[in-house]
Amino acid sequence: MNSVIHTLTNNFTLHFNFYLMKLSYFFFVVLVLSVSSSLFGQRMETKLKNVSREELKIKEYLKDPLAEAYVIFDTGKTTFVMRNEQLVIQHIRTSKIKILNNEGIKYGEISVPLYRDNNREYEELIRVEAYSYNLENGEIETTTFNDKEIFEEIINDHWTRKKFVIPNVKEGSIIEYRYVMETPFFFNLPDWEFQQKIPVSYSEYSVSVVPFYVYQFILKGAPDFDYRDAKKEGGLKRRVYGVDFNDLTTVVAMKDLQAFRDESYISSVDDYLVSLDFQLSRIQRPDGSKTEIMTNWKDLRKDYLSNPEFGGYIKKSRKAAKKILESELVFTDEKPAEKIQKIVNFAKTEFKWNEFYGKLSTQSPKSLLSKKSGNVADINLFTIALLRAAGMDANPVIISSRGHGKVETSYPFASFFNYVIIQIKLDNGMLLTDATDKMIAFNRLPPRCINDKGLVINDAETEEWLYTISEVPSKTVTIIKMNPDPDKEELDVQVIRQKTEIDGYLARQRTGENSEALKDKLVEEDFNSISNIKIKNYDNLRSPFVVAFQGKVDQERLNEQLVFSPFLNYPPKENYFTEPNRTYPIDFLAPNFESFTTEIMIPEGYKVAYLPEPLNIDDKLVSFNTDYQTNDKVLTVTGNMNFKMGLYAPKYYRLLKAHVEEVVASFNEKIILEKVE
């Protein structure tokens, strides 16, 4: 990911000269990552109601003929304004879009999400104007949106959505809209997405800051802007809260952004979309006092430790934790590892995860104990209290869950994180755990936590980063026995499949413990009938998850010969890497080993007529092989399919794709038995 982090400030120093307040400005752009020299282009004119016949006649976006619509321009302007003697942030968005076909008509439906907090502060949609333009008999027909038709949809306690539809939008239309939104939440300076699902010809964001708030911003998905300018606004100074100043405006722009179409096999769209995210870093009051919101990881950690919904919550849980250790979970002379296991498993069964992520608790420890249910932070922070009460060195680790985006360690943005897990230090190392998931062993993390790195929240001098990626390989072992009877139409097979680690976790979730349901599924998919089906170790997480059964499949034949697919339908039938190339990593969660062993009992009077060539690929990345051994009675076929890494860099994509191609061919090759003449 390319990202650039900047500080945006309209800074001032206050000289307490009784009558004079002198302000001086510094605007500085700190490029934390190296930036190549940027191409400074021109700003584009972005006026509304400036539509030409030529634009309306356009049938296709030449730079992307697949596009259903494209953005001609999209501009955002954020300023601080006074409302009822209070400073608020005003955000004006102006957009002009060309609709190319029916699929693009939906871009005429606009939706603006608005937030409200628990203290009756809320964001407001102040004004909307919108137009559509069509060519009717060679004349431009303008239709104006009537702003009475704005609908409000309640999403939940905190979010609503205002929606409107631009009238008279069809193939070929140009639409324009501008809305004004105001927010009292200085913590959330509106972010900006340059890139969209359709191509964007020009996107511009302008932010005018006042001396009271300093923001950091991070540009994601691109190395730099195409245009960038910062200047002090001229004219009369503004006086706010007794301070005189001129706004300092920064304008950034980008052009010709490609459509962001859905890509498969990526962890999150947010990681790759070209966008600008803001975080408040400092509040500077007219009286000269300052509050640092966060300037470095150390402060951020400190902030979490003192936060009543984080560090404070762990402290508050101490008493209740101690009580549990005196009554429900009494230890005598258990070793640390046993204690940890018992405590984590206690938390897993005692508290039901309500399926909400979160790094901050949402209820008091008392409420958690009464409801027996909570979000990730409620449960894991309380578990830390339990572990600490038992004398363990346990600390919270904040992470970004899978799908939530990557963490950029170069700059302390709290918004990177959305989840908290537990680190426990032991004499011989440490372990990471998450007490919200019953279906994974106490010393493992569920896949949703496997994404990137996490930050340990403690008061140590230097920060400690941890990787959540698993290095323990997942193994799938399949043992098949085939008992052909030349006189029968069906082939008897016995199958035992064992899965460990993440594969075991996923299989437990997919399969469940209901063997009847599994039987139905197997019959539906691959087998004519199933008997003696058993599921083992569903709850015994320390052992492999096992499925064993006997089944019947059609005996394949060619004339008098018997034909076998030695690994049944288990190997991939098609290459799952289908794109020509990849720019994103290939993420398997963990190294992945799969092995097959098949014994085919050779019927009386039959012999092997055809065996395929064995496969043998072995390098640093993978090892794939098949082998065939035979005597008079038994033919043994083995196959191994090992991805040695959990995460492969994009440059390996083509190689992996080529290897998998060979696997598909080799693992599905058939064997022939024929009558001894």
């Binding site: 697949l66 009537n146 999403i155 306690d157 069809k170 569903y538």
Partner: protein, 616 residues
């Protein structure tokens, strides 16, 4: 060792024990409906038991309501299996949000919801709520079973009405009914015990028609306007009055219509031109406010916005036809792929959609006004073969909407494979589709991006180891539901290599995934015919150097449909001709085994229909 065996056995028995249990059971479900001073009050109490974690989701409770309805949740509590209260939910744990259905832009509907959970099983959720409404077309629509997988152990519906209040009602034999007269009021009671949920089976009747349901409707009602549900004619007339005065077109629109139909005299042509104008310039967006569920937005609104829901667009189309003096009818219908039979004995709002019927030359043209792609007069899978209510000022009545028939294949495809010695090569498919296949492909063609169309086509053709290179659609005649499609593919492994032989198979037809006869409990309904016809040509190098073994042709004919497959060598290429027809119809459980056999045979025959080429 012994111990271990014992453990395995207990584990196994335990899991069987679990299987016999439903994940959740509705122990008590009581609904009390009463009417006072034109306010309809409904009180519902439920006691739900959750037996295992699979049942947890069933505690998520959503209570839907419209703006103006008065809905109050009185109690929600969690109990253990003995009824001991573990916890009572606080007010703030009952949330509220908008309930805008998929596809709608806005409706003034909301939902109150709560999700109580406990960590030990079994546990119970008890809740109680009341709802008071003053606008209604139903006094009650009650089905004791509310969810798949959840049986109802005890359920009652009581409807208490003033003695002079007339109602119509309908209920199945499975729900016993009693009636009690008190001073000035009558109490109707329905009671069930141990009612099991219906199985969800492939191609079964619509769920709405299997669930035992009690319907109680008022004979007279006020919903915007006063109306009666005594007969279908009464209800249709009420709808007619609701629509009155909404078809006025602005002058500019009249002028536009004049231009469009200028010089035309053939009514069919005029209808087609206006329908196309509707399709190309208007789109479907649902906005429902207040009586919006039943009253269309006026034609002038559609003229201004160029969008509307089914009612608004239909009313607008009708307005245009009025203007050119072609009479038409607003027809209410319950739309959906799987038709739900109307309860014809109980007139009322059993519909969710409207279309337009236009009588032309002794026939009727049907217009689906929400589609931007249908040919004029094409009644698709969404509304075909069911009853609708024709709305007329004096003679509203139920009518039969015609079924889809397949005189020609719903899909006819010619597959031309040109392969090298490894099975790699190219494939060109020339396809012609009609009816349901026309609908789905034409929808994609008109509404989706190239990427999504490619995904859909990859799914549409039953091929593996192929990659779609390009495609081209052609609709030779916009007034016919027929579409031509050419696709080009890159292919790999298009024959099996078994030893030194090459084996070519026929292609699979679409599958129906029917249950085995011993597991089936419902009749089968095929709503429209499926007629697939494939011609598959394989060209490989040096075919003359192989000994070619052709399978014998197969022909199966049954009342449910037919199958024919044959193979030949023509002009140095292998050719397989295959055709399968599945007839539309409802097939009873008695003949289900034969139907199942036919389906299984079809699959087996196509799978085993192999051409074997052995090098000589």
């Amino acid at each position: 060792m012994k111990v271990r065996i014992y453990l395995v056995i207990t584990l196994f028995c335990f899991s069987i024990g679990l299987q016999s249990q439903y994940p959740a059971e509705l122990l008590e479900f009581h609904k009390e409906v009463s009417l006072k001073k034109n306010k309809l009050k409904t009180k519902v109490t439920k006691l739900l038991q959750i037996n295992n974690p699979d049942g947890d989701d069933y505690t998520d409770t959503y209570l839907y309501f419209s703006k103006g309805d008065d809905i109050k949740v009185h109690t929600v509590r969690i109990e253990d299996a003995q009824g001991k209260v573990l916890r009572e939910l606080k007010k703030k744990e009952i949330k509220i949000q908008s309930s805008v259905a998929g596809g709608a832009l806005y409706t003034d509907d909301f939902v109150k919801y709560f999700k109580p959970k406990w960590h030990e099983y079994p546990y119970r959720i008890y809740y109680e709520y009341t709802r008071v409404v003053d606008k209604f077309l139903f006094l009650s629509r009650w089905s004791p079973v509310t969810r798949r997988d959840v049986p109802t152990r005890s359920g009652t519906l009581t409807v208490t009405l003033p003695e002079d209040y007339s109602v119509n009602m309908s209920y199945p034999d499975a729900i016993p009914f009693s009636r009690k007269e008190l001073d000035q009021e009558i109490i109707y009671t329905w009671k069930v015990s141990n009612m099991l949920p219906p199985d969800l089976e492939a191609h079964g009747p619509a769920l709405e028609s299997i669930l035992p349901t009690v319907l109680v409707v008022p004979q007279n009602f006020t919903f915007g306007l006063e109306g009666s549900l005594a007969t279908w004619n009464d209800y249709g007339q009420w709808q007619y009055r609701m629509n009155e005065g909404l078809r006025e077109l602005p002058d500019s629109e009249k002028q536009k219509i004049d231009e469009l139909v200028n010089g035309l005299t053939d009514p069919k042509e005029i209808i087609a031109i206006l329908y196309r104008y509707l399709q190309e310039n208007h789109r479907y967006i649902l906005v429902a406010i207040d009586t919006g569920g039943l009253k269309p937005y006026p034609a002038s609104y559609v003229c201004e916005k160029r969008y509307g829901d089914c009612k608004a667009l239909t009313n607008f189309m009708q307005a245009m036809l009025d203007y050119v003096k072609i009479p038409s009818f607003y027809v209410k219908v319950y739309a959906g792929d799987n038709p739900v039979p109307l309860k014809t004995n109980i007139p009322g709002q059993q519909f969710n959609h409207v279309i337009l019927g236009v009588p032309v030359e002794g026939d009727t043209m049907w217009l689906e006004n929400t589609s931007n792609a249908h040919p004029s007069g094409y009644l698709g899978t969404f509304t075909q073969n069911r009853k609708g209510l024709l709305v007329d000022p004096t003679d509203s009545r139920l009518i039969d909407l015609p079924p889809l028939i397949a005189e020609k294949p719903t899909q006819h495809s010619i597959f031309n494979f040109v392969l090298d010695d490894s099975g790699k090569g190219t494939l060109r498919i020339a396809t012609t589709v009609t009816n349901q296949d026309f609908e789905s492909l034409n929808y994609y063609r008109n509404n989706k991006t190239v990427t999504k169309i490619k995904q859909a086509l990859t799914y549409y053709f039953p091929l593996s180891n192929t990659a779609l290179v390009d495609f081209e659609f052609n609709q030779p005649d916009r007034s016919r539901p027929t579409l031509e499609l050419t696709t080009n593919w890159r292919t790999k492994r298009q024959f099996q290599k078994i030893g030194n032989r090459k084996v070519f198979a026929s292609l699979p037809f679409s599958t129906f995934d029917l249950e085995k006869p011993e597991e089936r409990s419902q009749p089968v309904v095929f709503n429209y015919p499926v007629f697939e016809s494939f011609e598959v040509n394989y060209e490989i190098p040096d075919l003359d150097k192989y000994k070619v073994e052709l399978p014998a042709p197969v022909l199966i004919e049954t009342p449910f449909g037919s199958l024919s497959v044959s193979a030949s060598v023509i002009d140095g290429a292998l050719k397989i001709q295959q055709e399968r027809i599945i007839q539309a119809g409802a097939f009873s459980l008695e003949i289900y085994p034969e139907l199942y056999d036919f389906m299984e045979n079809t699959e087996k025959v196509t799978k085993k229909f192999l051409i074997i080429c052995t090098p000589e």
